[in-house]
């Protein structure tokens, strides 16, 4: 089956939105969780206290809002494109998350991690050159 250029353009736009919103959401969640800290032990009271802090953190809610935007774009693109195409194609978000964590959180990203992320992007490039749909239209 031959896909139209329009199908490729709308696939590209929605994957771009996914690649922007998912890393931003994860960076905001990370900022929130670093402020909250991890549970000392896994006693119910300890877990409940952490849960309350999570639910009252502005960064967590902002992160959730970004991830919801990602999720809507993701649901839309999955109505026509293969899961096995969309999932790897959205992997550019790994590079974006490293850049955002460096600039927004001041995380030290070692050269080996950048190399690993670059290799992930090569994998994405390979997958991106396969057709978006391999199954018949429903």
């Amino acid at each position: 089956m031959k896909d139209s250029p329009g199908l490729h353009i709308k696939t590209f736009i929605l994957i771009l939105l996914m690649v922007l919103f998912a890393p931003l959401g994860n960076v905001l969640l990370s900022k929130g969780m670093k402020a909250i800290g991890s549970a000392k032990n896994w006693a119910p009271a300890d877990v409940f206290a952490i849960l309350v802090k999570i639910l009252t953190s502005g960064y967590i809610w902002l992160g959730i809002a970004c991830l919801l935007a990602f999720f809507v774009a993701y649901m839309l693109v999955l109505t026509w494109a293969d899961y096995s195409y969309v999932q790897p194609a959205s992997a550019f978000s790994y590079a974006v998350v490293a850049v955002l964590s460096y600039f927004l959180l001041g995380e030290v990203v070692p050269p080996l991690r950048w190399a690993g992320i670059a290799v992930i992007c090569v994998g994405v490039f390979v997958v991106g050159h396969t057709p978006p749909r391999t199954t018949e239209k429903a």
Binding site: K34, S38, Y83, Q87, Y94, P110, I120, V127, A138
Partner: protein, 124 residues
């Protein structure tokens, strides 16, 4: 040890959830109308598909596991490492969604996994 547990939950529950959501989306069919009212109708239609709720449940478990991981490790390590779900996702797409995975796609997934290994090795 707890890092491996949370990572396992992020990958297995996250991938399982995505596969269920994909199945729900395939039931609904391709979206052509992107106007707000149509998108809202689309979301309500999605919420009436059972697979959607199974997927949301699994993705909720994955989300809280991700939060636990983010409280322990840096986001620049955690998020790339969760790309291990690609291998699980490709296998799930093949067996659960009956998609045809070409050799080129498998090669891409393999390269992604090599990248994830390098990212994990950068952990000090």
């Amino acid at each position: 040890m707890r890092e491996f547990f949370f990572l396992f939950m992020v990958i297995v529950a996250g991938t399982g959830g995505e596969l269920c959501v994909t199945r729900a989306m395939k039931v609904i069919g391709e979206v052509h109308d992107f106007r707000p009212a149509a998108l809202i109708r689309f979301v309500f239609r999605a919420m009436r598909v059972g697979w959607m709720w199974v997927g949301i449940g699994m993705m909720t478990v994955a989300f809280f596991s991700l939060l636990a991981m983010l409280s322990i490790e840096n986001v620049s390590l955690v998020v790339p490492v969760t790309a291990l779900s690609y291998a699980a996702g490709a296998a799930g797409a093949l067996f659960f969604l009956h998609e045809r995975i070409s050799r080129q796609r498998w090669l891409g997934v393999l390269i992604v996994c090599v990248g994830v290994t390098l990212v994990w090795l950068s952990k000090r």
